[in-house]
């Protein structure tokens, strides 16, 4: 099912407790890598690496605020995954309606 493939990097990105903590923290408000490092038991360098990964798969984006790069959590990528599951569901609606036609005409 080709709809599965786009989930892979997204799931990989979410499948890490540190990245999850970062997303959770960003969900409470935009923050820089340094600010996140003060709140989480992870070095700033490690956080920067995780943020780069999260940005690559579209779960966060960044913008320059003064001298700092500030990160923001994005919901759209997850909505995209939900939309793809909706597409699978829609395909099942179609199949089930054919099953209905078949059974009702047997």
């Amino acid at each position: 099912m080709s709809v599965v493939a786009p989930f892979v990097p997204l799931f990989a990105a979410l499948g890490d407790d540190t990245r999850w903590s970062i997303l959770t923290a960003l969900g409470e408000g935009d923050a820089s890598a340094s600010a996140l490092a003060r709140r989480l038991p992870v070095t700033r360098q490690a956080i920067a690496k995780h943020l780069a990964f999260l940005e690559e798969v579209g779960l966060v984006d960044s913008r320059q605020v003064g001298r700092e790069l500030t990160y923001r959590a994005l919901g759209s990528r997850l909505s995209e995954a939900a939309r793809q599951l909706e597409a699978i569901g829609a395909e099942w609606d179609r199949r089930l309606s054919i099953i209905k036609e078949i059974a009702e005409s047997l």
């Binding site: 599965v4 989930f7 699978i88 569901g89 609606d93 089930l96």
Partner: protein, 165 residues
Amino acid sequence: MDSDAEQGTVIDEDAYTVRRSIHIAAPIEKVWAALTQPELISKWFTQSAVLDGDGVGATGFFTFSPTNSIPVRIEEIDKPHMIAYRWSNDDAAAEQAGGRRPATIDDEHSLVMRFTLEPTADGVRLSLVETGFATTLDPMYNMKSHVRGWNQMFDQLGTYFGALA
């Protein structure tokens, strides 16, 4: 269409799950036949379907095109109330393998579609639950070893990102 569109796609357990149901004005035996007879499966799902039996463990192939045959196995059966097929439809994995489909089912990386038939006053409510979307490739499967369950993850996503979506 007489399907439960309002039911939407439900996400639960440790994986993505798709649920759908439909009411069919036919006796349960006919709905059962449509779901289990290979020549009828090929009318709603595949180009052709082959199964070497009709009990648990029966295996075969669902063929969607001359180059796209997918191994399938009857995983559970309770005639005429429930049947579950396990199948390994994973385009991404096939792409990585140079377009080759697996010849046998990889239990750890496959989907299960479970049909449940409930008699009603004037027919049958047929429900479909498809699971396994999180197991079809290693990165996803590996996620299962992580502490947080999907439920919690999505609850939190809903809380934190719902407004952003």
